[in-house]
């Protein structure tokens, strides 16, 4: 298993681009917790703790609009 910190170190060493999305606020009855994360690289999810496919899909589409259906 690769930890988030290991992934971030690898990306940093490679000088690669990636996006680390973090949930900072939750309204209503969403089951996603504040602090949950999703690391996206090359349009793909590398690792995540969000657990909600719709939220993850929205993040990936935001990072790379070309992935939108």
């Amino acid at each position: 298993m690769t930890s988030l910190s290991e992934e971030l170190v690898q990306i940093s060493e490679q000088g690669a681009a990636a996006v680390l999305a973090t949930v900072v606020e939750v309204d209503g009855g969403a089951k996603v917790e504040s602090g949950a994360k999703c690391l996206v690289r090359d349009g793909k999810v590398v690792t995540e703790t969000i657990g909600d496919a719709r939220v993850i899909q929205a993040i990936v589409e935001f990072v790379d609009p070309a992935t939108a259906p």
Binding site: S5, E6, L8, S12, V24, K37
Partner: protein
């Protein structure tokens, strides 16, 4: 060799890649410590750093990186230590309007919201596809 006007040589850049904030975070996590990562998530008016700027705070109050220095940073450090203790993230509003007469370079007249997130070894997410 770096060209005219370059700030860093290739060797400097290689060194910087291996000295990123994430390398330091990993070192602390590997030692079993809990850290708080403070990130500016929104700003209004003039602020010393931009959205996305990060600062890491250790349980001992050591700071890696900066979100602008001054009293605002001190407030975030204090909240971060509480976040480390409770392991519950929170967002704090840093008002840089209060002490406009201060000589501090951090007094810019704006407001920034800073998300403070606890990181510890058990909090690491699984790699995609291993669930």
């Amino acid at each position: 060799m770096a060209g005219p006007g370059a700030c860093y040589t290739d060797a400097d850049l290689e060194g910087k890649k291996k000295d990123s904030i994430y390398h330091q975070v990993k070192e602390f996590l590997d030692k079993g410590e809990t850290l708080a990562v403070a990130t500016i998530v929104s700003t209004k008016g003039s602020t010393p750093r931009e959205v996305g700027a990060k600062m890491v705070v250790t349980a001992w109050g050591e700071i890696l990186g900066t979100i602008g220095g001054g009293c605002g940073e001190a407030d975030v450090k204090r909240e971060a230590i509480e976040v480390i203790r409770t392991r519950k993230p929170r967002t704090v509003r840093i008002d840089l309007l209060d002490d406009i007469s201060s000589d501090s370079p951090a007094v810019c007249g704006g407001i920034m919201n800073v998300f403070i997130d606890p990181w510890w070894q058990d909090s690491k997410p699984e790699a995609a596809g291993t669930k």
